[in-house]
């Protein structure tokens, strides 16, 4: 659900789809062959026909949809919350209980989807009926709403009272059991669908109605033309066979399986589970003496993986320097900087790149094919963000096809892989009072006083970060499960300026 659906009265559209699905479930539940077994339930002295227990509902859902009890309870709870099933014993408590509590199906006449929207007028008639029937039977909130409605739609109040009286008279002619059933159904309906009653139309609603801009109606022709043009282009597109693409997913998942902490855990432990940040400390961006084995292995998966890891990129640069082709990587980085940098500095950066990498006799001249070079040099006359794209692409693929595979076979890489550590698994401590302190980490935001770098993650001593004392720093607060420290921390935090 979004603001948009609220604005266009599309709450209705969005909810209707859900209602239809819930109604399918309800209809299946009442199927004469495969549905639930109903029985008579005793409610005080009256016998209510066609009722079931909460336990029945849950068992049926579990069996029909092959789900666990928790999920059946959740789904059944939704059915009660939206009024498709209502409780008989405690009508105001719209929850599904997994016991012998009696429930009944709401009649389709009173489904939210059938009678949408619930009007204030109908609600007023209902409250008036209750009021007349037994003086003082209205709950506190109902009394409030009754008086608010009385003020709001005062002009129709005679009609309201008249209708209420008529409906009461008609119901007196029914059998007692039917009358009770109808009262239960009606009560259940209004518990869920009572319209919000406030003295002024909520500004929220007005705002959205005012903002309702229907783009599609006005630009229908425009959209259709775009659509047609798109289809024409798409028809000429090259596609790959499904078998090849889908095989790709299987391979990818397999390759990355051991790198996926949620799937296979991570070493020494998942910080979120063990409260130990060792895993993060061992894998920081650049300042790690020895990287982990998984990390180094990952560099071999693809050229992009190597470049995306700051340490990998640094290693690759070292290798290229040995091969006297480091200017390629430098050029590529400079081009990335142009592409993703500020607009205002594009011209100056392009100048720099030309001077250093492309000009004849440049200090770090890159070897690009003549066609691309000509095109780039021409483009530099009128520099823009993407002027280096072709040249950058050329150098990227050069590195990917040539330097990268050789790097993976090189001693530099192989030694790194051999040196790389495989951390010992550290299991989560079983005893709660031995839970580790949760250390804070230096914020990426620059400060005046530089914080000390983290040295030994396994030390139990709290980290001191040099921040102004007024900032809440919880490195040295013990784990806030205890009541009092949690309260003081909360107080300190709320004093932070916004």
């Amino acid at each position: 659900m979004t603001i948009n659906t609220l604005a266009k009265g599309g709450w209705h559209r969005d909810q209707m789809a859900c209602f239809r699905k819930m109604e399918k479930v309800i209809v299946a539940m009442q199927d004469p062959d495969m549905g639930m077994k109903m029985r008579n339930q005793r409610l005080l002295i009256t016998v209510i026909p066609h009722a079931m227990t909460g336990r029945d509902v849950i068992n049926w859902l579990m069996q029909k949809y092959n789900m666990c009890e928790e999920e059946a309870l959740h789904l059944g709870g939704m059915l009660v919350r939206y009024g498709y099933i209502y409780p008989l014993k405690e009508p105001r408590s719209l929850v599904l209980r997994a016991d012998e509590s009696p429930y009944r199906f709401q009649t389709p006449y009173f489904w939210t989807s059938t009678r949408w929207p619930a009007t204030e007028l109908d609600y007023a008639i209902y409250l008036a009926k209750k009021n007349i029937r037994k003086q003082g039977e209205l709950m506190e909130y109902e009394k409030e709403r009754y008086s608010v409605l009385h003020k709001r739609i005062n002009h129709t109040w005679d009609f309201v009272v008249m209708q209420a009286r008529e409906q009461l008279r008609a119901s007196k002619q029914r059998r007692k059991a039917d009358r009770i059933v109808l009262e239960c159904q009606e009560q259940a309906y209004w518990l869920i669908n009572r319209p919000p009653v406030s003295l002024t139309l909520s500004t929220f609603r007005i705002y959205f109605i005012a903002h309702f801009v229907c783009v599609c109606v006005c630009v229908c022709t425009f959209c259709l033309c775009l659509q047609i043009e798109f289809c024409r282009r798409a028809l000429g597109r090259n596609r790959v066979k499904s078998s090849i693409c889908l095989e790709g997913f299987v391979k990818y998942s397999e390759q990355y399986l051991s790198h996926d902490p949620i799937m296979q855990g991570c070493l020494p432990s998942n910080p979120w589970i063990s409260d130990d940040t060792a895993h993060w400390t061992m894998n920081t961006e650049v300042r790690v003496p020895i990287p982990s084995r998984l990390r180094v292995e990952r560099w071999s998966f693809s050229f992009m993986e190597l470049l995306n890891d700051a340490m990998g990129r640094r290693e690759f640069m070292t290798y290229l320097e040995k091969e006297f082709s480091a200017e390629n990587l430098c050029f590529w980085q400079a081009c990335e900087d142009i592409r993703h940098g500020e607009n205002s500095r594009i011209v100056e950066k392009v100048e720099e790149v030309y001077k250093n990498f492309l000009a004849p006799g440049a200090a770090r001249w890159v070897n690009i094919d003549s066609k691309t070079m000509d095109k780039t040099l021409k483009g530099i006359q009128h520099p823009h963000r993407f002027v280096m794209d072709d040249a950058q692409m050329h150098i990227y693929f050069l590195m990917k096809k040539d330097s990268f595979p050789r790097y993976l076979k090189s001693d530099l890489y192989k030694n790194m892989l051999a040196k790389a550590i495989v951390p010992q698994e550290v299991k989560k401590s079983v005893f709660p009072f031995m839970r580790r302190q949760r250390h804070s980490s230096p914020s990426p935001v620059p400060t005046l006083a530089q914080p000390a770098p983290v040295s030994d993650a396994r030390a139990e001593k709290p980290e001191r970060v040099d921040l102004p004392s007024s900032i809440v720093c919880v490195g040295h607060h013990s784990n806030h499960r205890k009541g009092s420290s949690a309260f003081t921390e909360f107080k300190a935090r709320t004093s932070l300026s916004t």
Partner: protein
């Protein structure tokens, strides 16, 4: 007998409606042809290919942290590259930066509008972007100086003609991609606030976007209320691929880690996987008992699992390859509005209308 002369207006109207009808027929015919072309190369289903893959065992994930502090519905969140900090925004106009590991709040900003539907963390970790009903996207540089008012340094970057539904930094702090209720997406230069490129093609509100992790880093996907998911070229502004198989609004789109596919979550209670090279939908993740819409989706690091946050307060975990549901997670007390896996895949975080955020691992 001579017929009376037809007034000029009526002729024009007739012509216009004929053109419209003509265009509509042409569009429908082409769409049909496109579907035929796509179907030609579809020789196998994903779950068939996945038959040889080992099934997943018992799945246990729990809430490891609960972040309390928002005064109203949490609408959006994003992770910092340091893998533990997050930014979250809520209906009451507050944007909060947390260290999710210690659950401390580190920064807070009060926006001048309510319903802050979009927020994003800058790659450097030094700024956050947010926006919503104000139709703008603003960037706030973060500061550790307690005396500094974050709102003072605010930079107004994007301007749309309707609410901002999503925003994301590209590879640097200098550019922002936004999507809006006005049906367009746009790329902006943060420093100058200049519009670099706009993307037109959705016929209704655009609700979500995601940047491709590809080598050339030039495309992104967006999903909208017109049930379409469009893939765009950031350089030219053109829509290069489009998929329309959902039955309702698409609330969330997310790329598969390899960049060759993306998943979408919709109000029709299904998640779907679209392959970009095959140019078609390749999987649907749905169940008869799942009735409420998906608000947010994300992949685990290996792409084997797809997490979906649903409007019935639950999180369903899907096996992407086999198409089956692995687990259902309970915990939130109102609809899950946003879900993101952390950058290193150790956990995922959800934000909900119950005013809290939860980290699961």
């Amino acid at each position: 007998m001579r017929s009376p002369p037809i007034p000029e207006m009526a002729t024009q109207e007739v012509q216009l409606s004929e053109t419209l009808a003509h265009l509509k027929t042409e569009s429908d015919t082409l769409k049909g042809k496109l579907e035929e072309e796509r179907a030609k190369l579809h020789d196998v289903e994903l779950h068939q290919v996945a038959e040889k893959v080992e099934g997943l065992g018992q799945f246990v994930m729990k809430t490891r942290r609960t972040l309390k502090g928002h005064g109203n519905k949490v609408l959006c969140m994003d992770w910092c590259k340091d893998k533990r900090r997050i930014v979250s925004s809520s209906q009451d106009g507050k944007v909060i930066v947390w260290d999710a590991f210690t659950t401390n709040k580190e920064h807070a900003v009060t926006m001048p509008c309510t319903w802050v539907m979009a927020c994003a963390y800058a790659p450097s970790g030094c700024a956050v972007a947010c926006g919503g009903l104000d139709n703008k996207c603003s960037v706030y540089p973060l500061s550790l100086d307690k005396n500094e008012n974050l709102a003072a340094k605010k930079k107004s970057v994007a301007m749309h003609t309707n609410y901002l539904s999503a925003c994301s930094f590209t590879n640097s702090d200098m550019q922002i991609l936004t999507s809006s209720g006005d049906g367009t997406c746009a790329l902006w230069d943060v420093e100058s606030g200049q519009l670099l490129q706009s993307f037109h093609g959705h016929a209704a509100d655009v609700l979500c976007l995601d940047l491709a992790p590809s080598e050339t880093g030039n495309t992104f996907v967006s999903g909208g209320c017109d049930k379409k998911a469009n893939v765009w070229d950031m350089r030219s502004g053109q829509c290069i691929q489009s998929f329309e198989t959902h039955e309702s609004d698409i609330n969330s789109v997310r790329y598969y880690p390899s960049g060759d596919a993306f998943a979408s979550g919709s109000d029709d209670a299904t998640c779907r996987l679209y392959d970009l090279r095959a140019d078609r939908e390749v999987a649907i993740y749905s169940k008869e008992s799942i009735i409420f819409g998906v608000s947010s989706v994300d992949f685990s690091l290996s792409g084997r699992l797809l997490f979906g946050g649903y409007n019935d307060y639950t999180i369903n975990v899907w096996d992407v390859l086999k198409g089956t549901r692995v687990s259902i997670l309970f915990g939130h007390e109102n609809r899950v509005s946003t879900l993101r896996v952390s950058p290193d895949g150790t956990a995922f975080c959800t934000g909900s209308w119950d005013h809290t955020l939860r980290t699961w691992a």
